[in-house]
């Protein structure tokens, strides 16, 4: 099989379409009557990393399912690159990186088999891999630094390595829109910055990434856009404007750990500003100033500060 064949198989080459995601007034009610998502709307364009932030049960997974066409919303619509979800999936536009808990790690597949799954949508009826497919798998494994592990059964990997394998699968698929479900849970700091670095490369190549995360501290670090959720979209927009203390308190209610240092505990002078630390038990987000909106969230100085070669992967 040749490259031309692969391209003709998937119809239009996915690279030709601009990555975009429009969620419009989406309402999802489950058969048991629970409305998990009401009137949710936001809009994202190419070259974006967007954080999806909210407590458990705030509708993040429901939103993912609606984007992946698992659920048909009772009202509203999801459009991916201008297409209805199902058509976009058929064109291999959407890649999905699952949460680690959702994967059966005892399944008899090797690392390279998992990455090859990313090519299935590009293959013919019998899913016979072509030379191109093999090359893309090797490329993807190289990009995430997992080439040495390609013949390992997936259950033998560490937490960070597991994540990288599934990221490689998304790379091999070449989807323009990548959904990442909690990519930083159970991952050491080194892998986290490796994943973030890769996401930045993909953003610069025009991909659109939607990342659900509890890791509030790293949101201002690498996300351009934020969608805050609590059974609907509370706020959506550029990180500087949207990821504010006021919005976060609205999103999390009393759920977050909240520390505030001020007065004589913090200053010797007349300065009345304080430091507010909000955390969901992962990397905290730190605000400096009187109350809301006085400063943008504090960014870590650089990535290298965090990558202290800590190898204590779970």
């Amino acid at each position: 099989m040749t490259v031309a064949h692969t391209a003709s198989n998937s119809g239009e080459p996915s690279g030709q379409r601009t990555a975009s995601l429009t969620v419009e007034n989406v309402t999802v009610t489950y058969p048991n009557g629970n409305t998990a998502l009401r009137d949710a709307s936001f809009n994202l364009g190419p070259g974006t990393i967007c954080a999806l932030v909210g407590v458990n049960g705030s509708g993040k997974s429901t939103l993912f399912k609606a984007i992946m066409g698992f659920l048909t919303p009772q009202a509203g619509s999801v459009r991916i690159a201008g297409l209805p979800a199902r058509d976009a999936l058929k064109k291999n536009l959407v890649a999905y990186v699952p949460q680690s808990e959702d994967v059966d790690w005892n399944f008899p597949v090797l690392v390279e088999d998992v990455v090859m799954m990313g090519r299935y949508g590009h293959m013919g009826f019998l899913r016979h891999p072509s030379t191109t497919d093999h090359e893309k798998v090797t490329d993807a494994l190289t990009r995430v630094g997992m080439t040495d592990y390609r013949n390992r059964q997936i259950g033998e990997l560490s937490g960070g390595q597991k994540k990288r394998v599934f990221l490689a699968r998304a790379l091999a698929q070449e989807g323009r829109i990548i959904l990442l479900d909690e990519p930083f849970t159970g991952v050491d700091v080194k892998t986290e910055s490796a994943i973030v670095g890769l996401m930045r490369e993909l953003r610069d190549a025009g991909h659109l990434m939607l990342v659900s995360t509890h890791n509030l501290g790293s949101v201002p670090d690498f996300c351009d856009q934020v969608v805050l959720m609590d059974k609907t979209v509370l706020a959506a927009g550029p990180t500087e404007e949207t990821f504010t203390q006021a919005n976060l308190e609205l999103t999390f209610g009393g759920v977050l750990r909240h520390f505030r240092l001020e007065g004589s505990a913090l200053h010797d002078d007349e300065d009345t500003r304080g430091v507010t630390v909000l955390t969901d038990d992962e990397r905290p987000v730190v605000f400096y100033g009187h109350q809301q909106n006085e400063t943008a969230p504090v960014r870590p100085k650089s990535d290298t500060d965090n990558s202290n070669d800590q190898d204590g992967e779970k």
């Binding site: 058969p31 399912k65 992946m68 066409g69 698992f70 999936l89 058929k90 064109k91 291999n92 959407v94 890649a95 999905y96 699952p98 959702d102 994967v103 059966d104 399944f107 008899p108 597949v109 090797l110 088999d113 799954m117 990313g118 299935y120 949508g121 009826f125 019998l126 899913r127 013949n151 390992r152 059964q153 033998e156 699968r169 698929q173 989807g175």
Partner: protein, 295 residues
């Protein structure tokens, strides 16, 4: 030497061996998937649930496969319906539905003792299988095998990661329905060779054995199918000499091989794990066996 070839001189033995081998192959193919999802008992439930269909079909003079298939679908639909509508757990639902169907089947057979022998259904009767029944088994098995050979990768993806299968454009719901239709069809076929009680062995043991021997799904399938085919063929052959129920001989063979794999499998066997554990405690280093290339 000649004595060993005696079974091949009888047409009914030759037929039994080949039909068993074919059924063993398809069931083994399905077993590779079934045991990975913790759905093994679904096979057992289906095998019992189709009994009323079989007895009903014999009563009415219809092809037995048609009756069995309808009963199988009814049972699956029943389980699905109860699961959607109640908060009962899966095992309870399976237990409820399959015993209900099985009881109905036994009742039907006992009320019409002349139409069909209970023993044939429960224990299978491959040695005495009629030509028309044999053809039904062959057609079911060949069609199922053909579908599986075409769709095995899609099914693997759905079983491994349903959400992802969806994102690459597959339809997981449709593929799962396909899988359970094939499973019902093959339990119907296996009913003739090993009987309702032992169908479960054919759709679990080969896959479980292969799972201990490899870390790759493709190899698992090949090992499992080879295992199922050979044990079924040899089991039918041996049953001529031991003069026992064919199903019993086939399943005993499979169990023996499973035990061998359980003890001596190179990586996942009992001895290998023990050895590995010893190495770790002795060296305090990384387990050596993990570094060996996988089968």
């Amino acid at each position: 030497m000649n004595e060993l070839l005696v079974p091949f001189a009888y047409e009914y033995m030759v037929k039994a061996m080949w039909v068993s081998a074919l059924v063993g192959a398809v069931c083994a193919f399905l077993s590779a998937y079934l045991m990975l999802k913790g759905w093994s008992l679904m096979g057992d439930a289906l095998a019992h649930a189709i009994v009323p269909g079989v007895s009903g079909a014999y009563l009415l003079g219809l092809p037995y496969a048609a009756g069995a298939f309808i009963a199988g679908l009814l049972a699956s639909a029943g389980m699905f319906f109860i699961r959607q509508q109640s908060r009962l757990r899966e095992d309870a639902i399976i237990g409820l539905v399959f015993t209900t169907f099985f009881a109905a089947g036994l009742l039907m057979v006992s009320l019409n003792p002349t139409s069909v022998n209970v023993q044939t259904i429960i224990l299978g009767n491959i040695l005495g299988i009629s030509d028309s029944d044999a053809w039904q088994v062959i057609i079911i098995s060949v069609i199922s095998l053909a579908i599986l050979i075409v769709k095995w990768k899609d099914l693997m993806l759905v079983f491994f990661d349903e959400a992802y299968a969806q994102t690459v454009g597959l339809n997981p719901t449709w593929l799962k329905i396909l899988f359970f239709t094939l499973l019902s069809a093959c339990t119907v076929a296996a009913l003739q060779t090993v009987g309702a009680c032992l169908v479960i062995a054919l759709v679990v043991t080969p896959g479980a054995t292969a799972y201990l021997l490899t870390d790759r799904f493709e190899r698992l399938l090949m090992i499992s199918v080879a295992f199922g085919t050979i044990t079924s063929f040899v089991g039918a052959y041996l049953s001529y000499f031991v003069d026992g129920a064919t199903g019993g001989v086939i399943v005993t063979l499979q169990t023996i091989l499973f035990l061998v794999a359980f003890l001596f499998a190179p990586k996942h066997g009992l001895y290998a794990s023990r050895r590995q554990a010893r190495l770790v405690t002795a060296d305090g280093g990384e387990p050596v066996a993990l570094k060996e290339p996988t089968v």
